[in-house]
């Protein structure tokens, strides 16, 4: 073995000819991205205008060409040789800015964008000239030639292997070995010619086009290229893209601009100053902007376009092939994320900002990426902590970026509140207008009757007909009003039922978990008895385990008791006066128990609130809170107080349920709502009470938390907030 080892102490990489495929065709996922990469290079080269021409691309022939021409700084022979022809060249990594005077932040970094050409066509004629240069440089790269060389090399390798095997078989030591050709061994034709005075720039003339480009392909390319530059930033040095596809009427000579936003229903602009940032605030059907101090992620400009169904239909009709595709973030006017993402199916698009995930938590009033176009502008100088991630498909996950995402979602929530309010207002308006129409018809009928009384005989037949028609119309409108009312109530019921069902499903699951865990524990204790009894050394455990069995059985009993209460209750929805329900429980049903345990109960609810829900559902919430508070105050030496206060504000109802008992440890504040978390096992606490409260409140779209105790240093206050929308019937 040793004699075959080379003397050299170092080895070097070589690239197989097929490398060009890896870097081009296989690395770049689709044609649009390839085009995007090449246009992006023009941006990095300080171009102000790029022309993308598609010639005879409908049916592929030797005439088919794609030309990308820019008026950037161009390249010299040295630049082509030392940078353009160096794979993965690092000039853009080391110089993160393009040359003076533009100093653009360069977008290409990997040094492989130029191989994107191979995705479009297999022959490239590159012509480039620098300003004031005497010569224009030309380079011809024919990927077909590479392909041929690759196939020849493969064939040679097979033949060589065959020859080696034959030589071995015949015992010959003469084995012909041809040095294989590598990627870097293939010559590309280069020549120079006199330059065109006063011009600079680079032209990529791509021929031997791979696939035909249909009208819709070009439209897609147009729409994606339009996203490269923010439509809102007007930079000192513009970057204009022109698309030229003479085969198709639409693209005779078309400047590429982002027109997607023309038909939006709502247009919102948030801007900033050195000290403040604008954000949205919805109040009573008015979407206003408020100023807040600059946030951790730095100042931003945000333009948001919302499309309702009608606007979406117009958009689809007028902007074929385009999609309303959510919020994009631009840095210094150029797209940062999602970067060159082309995905035809919306469902596969990545939801970087988490807009669509929210729909799982209640979709009646949420907007989705398919309803929005957003352009959020950040700058390198103003938002240094929002950093591009290395794969350029998102930003680095840090506090500032998380807050930026939170800010965006916050704006959407305000918009959602506003839209929900408007929907509700429209419903009320429609209802009112129907009533007015009905009144109008009534008075029309009575006027008609008066006219009929005084009208001459020859008009009587016609007036009679009119009277009947008016009467019928009035009946129809009345029925319409009733149906409208019924439908609205039905919708509210359906929404409520939907949330309750989701909760019940979760709930059944958790109940099963509780029962199973209790049974599992009982079984383990019983198993110990079966295996070990009698054994005096285990006596302490026999005693302990028998107690445990009893406690677990009691827990099971309480769970079953609770389930039984469901079967006894009426599952329908009904209007419930919350104030009456709580007063009935606290001051009547529990009055005896409270007096027996020497507990003082107070209810203080400012006004009656009626909600449509299941009675038992709400009663359980309050009963669980009462039961917890009784346990908490039981051992008080001093006064034992349980208090429930409630007040309504513009958009919600807040309920504070308090006691002056032993309180909840700070570290348990979140955990108390977990299923079977209990600190009162010895008092029969199964750890499901507050879980029931939490899941039910959540299913009503409300929130529940442990807040600072109303009693100061002792006791507990549970705060429940129930929003009015969207379940408010009209």
């Amino acid at each position: 073995m040793k004699q075959n080892q080379p003397e050299a102490s170092a080895l070097f990489w070589k690239f197989d000819i097929s490398t060009f495929r890896l870097l081009g065709r296989e690395l770049i996922t689709d044609r649009i991205t390839a085009l995007f990469e090449l246009v992006k290079n023009a941006y990095d080269a300080n171009a102000t205008n790029v022309h993308v021409e598609f010639l005879s691309v409908q049916n592929i022939s030797s005439e088919s060409r794609i030309i990308i021409r820019d008026d950037g700084i161009g390249m010299s022979f040295d630049t082509i040789r030392d940078k353009w022809m160096v794979v993965g060249t690092n000039s853009k990594r080391t110089n993160r800015r393009s040359p003076a005077p533009m100093f653009r932040k360069v977008v290409g970094k990997k040094g492989v964008g130029r191989f994107a050409v191979d995705k479009l066509g297999s022959r490239l004629l590159l012509s480039s000239q620098e300003a004031d240069a005497e010569l224009q440089v030309n380079l011809l790269i024919d990927w077909n030639h590479y392909e041929e060389q690759m196939l020849a090399a493969d064939k040679e390798a097979v033949e060589q292997q065959k020859a080696t095997e034959e030589a071995k078989a015949t015992g010959s030591s003469q084995i012909a070995t041809n040095e294989p050709k590598y990627f870097t061994d293939i010559a590309n034709k280069y020549w120079e010619k006199p330059s065109q005075p006063g011009k600079s720039g680079t032209q990529l003339d791509i021929s031997a086009i791979r696939d035909p480009w249909t009208k819709s392909d070009i439209e897609r390319a147009y729409k994606e290229l339009a996203k490269l530059v923010s439509p809102l930033v007007r930079p000192t040095y513009p970057f204009n893209i022109f698309l030229h596809a003479p085969e198709y009427d639409l693209f005779g000579y078309q400047p590429v601009e982002n027109k997607a936003i023309r038909h939006a229903t709502e247009e919102i602009t948030l801007t900033h100053d050195e000290e403040w940032q604008e954000k949205l605030k919805h109040y009573q059907g008015r979407l206003t902007k408020v100023k807040v101090p600059i946030l951790s992620f730095g100042p931003i400009d945000f333009k948001l376009y919302y499309f309702d169904k009608q606007a979406k239909d117009i958009f689809k009709r007028e902007y074929q092939g385009g999609s309303i595709d959510g919020i994009k973030i631009y840095r210094d006017g150029l797209i940062a994320t999602p970067f060159a993402e082309y995905e035809a199916q919306d469902i596969k698009k990545r939801d970087i900002l988490g807009i669509d995930k929210r729909r799982y938590s209640g979709f009646f009033n949420k907007v989705s990426s398919a309803d929005l176009i957003g352009i959020l502008n950040i700058t390198d100088a103003g938002n240094p902590e929002v950093k591009d991630s290395t794969n350029r498909q998102d930003f680095e996950d840090n506090k500032e970026y998380r807050e930026l995402k939170g800010f965006i979602i916050g704006q959407l929530e305000e918009l959602e509140d506003y839209l929900a309010f408007r929907r509700q207002a429209r419903l009320i308006d429609t209802h009112t207008e129907l009533k007015i129409a009905n009144e109008g018809l009534k008075s029309f009928g009575s006027i008609l009757r008066e006219i009929k009384r005084e009208a001459p005989n020859f008009l009587q037949d016609r007036l009679h007909l009119l009277e009947r028609q008016s009467h019928q119309l009035q009946l129809d409108v009345s029925r319409g009003i009733r149906e409208f009312q019924d439908l609205t109530e039905e919708k509210v019921r359906q929404e409520n039922l939907f949330f309750s069902l989701m909760s019940l499903q979760d709930y059944a699951f958790e109940i099963a978990h509780v029962v199973r865990t209790a049974l599992s524990r009982i079984m383990s204790f019983a198993e110990f008895f079966k295996n070990e009894y009698p054994n005096p050394s285990f006596d302490q455990y026999f005693l302990e385990y028998s107690r445990n069995i009893y406690d677990e059985m009691a827990k099971l009993d309480s769970v079953l008791e609770f389930l039984l209460s469901y079967t006894k209750s009426n599952v329908s929805f009904q209007p419930i006066n919350v104030k009456e329900l709580i007063e009935d429980l606290m001051l009547n049903k529990y009055a005896d128990l409270f007096s027996k345990k020497n507990i003082q109960a107070y209810v203080d609810i400012d006004q009656p609130l009626v909600i449509t829900h299941n009675y038992k559902f709400l009663e359980d919430i309050i009963e669980n809170l009462i039961s917890n508070s009784i346990k908490a105050v039981e051992d008080n030496q001093d006064k034992k107080i349980i208090k429930c206060s409630g007040f309504t504000s513009e958009d919600n109802f807040t309920l504070l349920f308090s006691d002056n008992g032993y309180g909840i440890r700070p570290e348990d504040k979140e955990r108390v709502f977990n299923i079977y978390f209990t600190r009162t096992a010895e008092k029969g606490g199964a750890g499901i009470g507050l879980y029931i409260v939490k899941t039910r409140i959540q299913s009503m779209q409300g929130s529940v938390e442990v807040t600072d105790s109303e009693f100061g240093s002792c006791g507990t206050t549970i705060k429940i907030v129930l929003p009015f929308a969207p379940s408010k019937p009209i």
Partner: protein, 202 residues
Amino acid sequence: MNNKTNIIVIDDDERIENHPLLVKLRQLYNNVEILSSPKEGTDYVATHLDQRNIIILDYKFDADRSTGRDVLEKIRQISKLIPVIIWTANGDRLTEIADFVNYKAYAILNKSPYEPVLESVSRADKELNNSLEGAIEEWVLLQDKNELDKPYMINANGKSYSLRDILREVREQTPFGQRIEKDLIMLTIDLLIRNKESLDIK
């Protein structure tokens, strides 16, 4: 009761302390540790690789929302050989069976009855005893205690390993540990084939 295997129970249920399984394990094994969080568990395993361990791992951890699967993945980054028994109250809900198989869980058992868990621990203990790892351990521990941390072997790159290091490398299944393991197995087979009961050391 003279078993030197460590039984490590990772479970965040405070009531586990007096669970019948623990009572029985303490009766059978010298050292039974209860660790109440995934982090405590993995930290303990990482710092006790020079002991023989069997882990009983709960599936559901409420506090940090991790599951037994996540903990097992972390343990496997530390050691490929430690037997880990998944102990769960919700066997039929496990959706990560494939992961458990891939991470070589020793067994997946219900919280009750506990007898199969005891049997599984006992079987794992015997396997550890009869494994190459067990044999190396026996042999290493037979050596003079003062010699355990002294350089014992130097590899081709000039790195030296003490006896304790070698045992750890085998437990962590590092390339060096795997190589040692393979060499020892080949040596054993060679000796058995040649009917040799001792090495020819000249």
